[in-house]
Symmetry: C2
Subunit: 214 residues, 2 copies
Amino acid sequence: MEKKVNISAFSNNNMVAEENRKFFYENGIFATNIIGSPGCGKTSILEYTAGHFDEKFGVIVGDVKTALDSNRIIKAGHKYAYPIETGGGCHISPNMISEKIKEINKNIDYLFIENVGNLVCPSTFDLGEKFKIAVLSIPEGDEKVRKYPALFLNAQVVIINKVDLLEYMDYDIECVKEDCKIHNPKVKIFETSIKTGEGFENFFNYMRTQRKYF
Amino acid sequence: MEKKVNISAFSNNNMVAEENRKFFYENGIFATNIIGSPGCGKTSILEYTAGHFDEKFGVIVGDVKTALDSNRIIKAGHKYAYPIETGGGCHISPNMISEKIKEINKNIDYLFIENVGNLVCPSTFDLGEKFKIAVLSIPEGDEKVRKYPALFLNAQVVIINKVDLLEYMDYDIECVKEDCKIHNPKVKIFETSIKTGEGFENFFNYMRTQRKYF
């Protein structure tokens, strides 16, 4: 009986994810699902994006508690930021997205979904996004890809953030990139820093190209 | 039906946790459950502890994949480190501990259980430990207590790690300590750095005192 319950919950999730995907496609919204540890810089990346990515985009920001991150993005001058408070939940579910997209502005061309800070649970949930973006950061240490493989099997893009801290820390970035490629040989990797702006122009151009073939 | 399955799973977990607690008590093992984000320094803290905590203790190290962390602790000169690979699971369950304690050395006085790197899911699982230790680190940012409240409601001890990085980062440590106290007014907070050794002697003495009244 337990197995049946699980299977039914999973197929329901997948069905809702497909409906979300259809909504995004029909409205020309290129949606991505951003996943990383607490504090790896997901919100900072979106704050920076709010100030520098010259396209019409929206942000859905998931948090266990508080709308702090969504408020940060609005404060950074961005109009279309929508919070999801999971109320203790460890990931955003397709149903939460399905509810939230009823209120988003349909004229946006891109949607960034910032998932709950968690390297494990959000990795296996399809929300209807075009692809997943995994965010790593230098202070976390360079073994995270090996220790949390599910995300890196499922992510088309990896952002290695806070590279300005490389000089202070013992972090083998080449090894991290190799580990990413073992899990997904076609992975696209960007090395970024909010402080210097490094890597963002490449990332934005990649997003534009990807949307073209959407 | 779904509800019944959940209730039954939870009460079974609690039952196993109580059995684990009984085992620890009968064998004079003071067990704690260490929880924090990926990369906050849980394993480094235990490596440092292996070299400086002059007591008989064991370590159970949970990881989604690999025994990397357990090997690090053994390499640091520690004899009693036991890995648990959760195989995709986002937390250690009481059952995993129940299985693992069959093979641990019963002559230890302390047991540190290093949970999977995750600020959300492990917070609400009782493994039979005496108390939970939450680990924060400076590079994660100073809003984590507000964003992930469940852990800080449940933790008797908070370690704020990597304080040597305070001078490079904008982190309001007094505010973090206040946030911790809002969730648990009796919380005991330690500020630590592996690089300087700061805070560890206080932490070790606290553990010794706590075990005395165990």
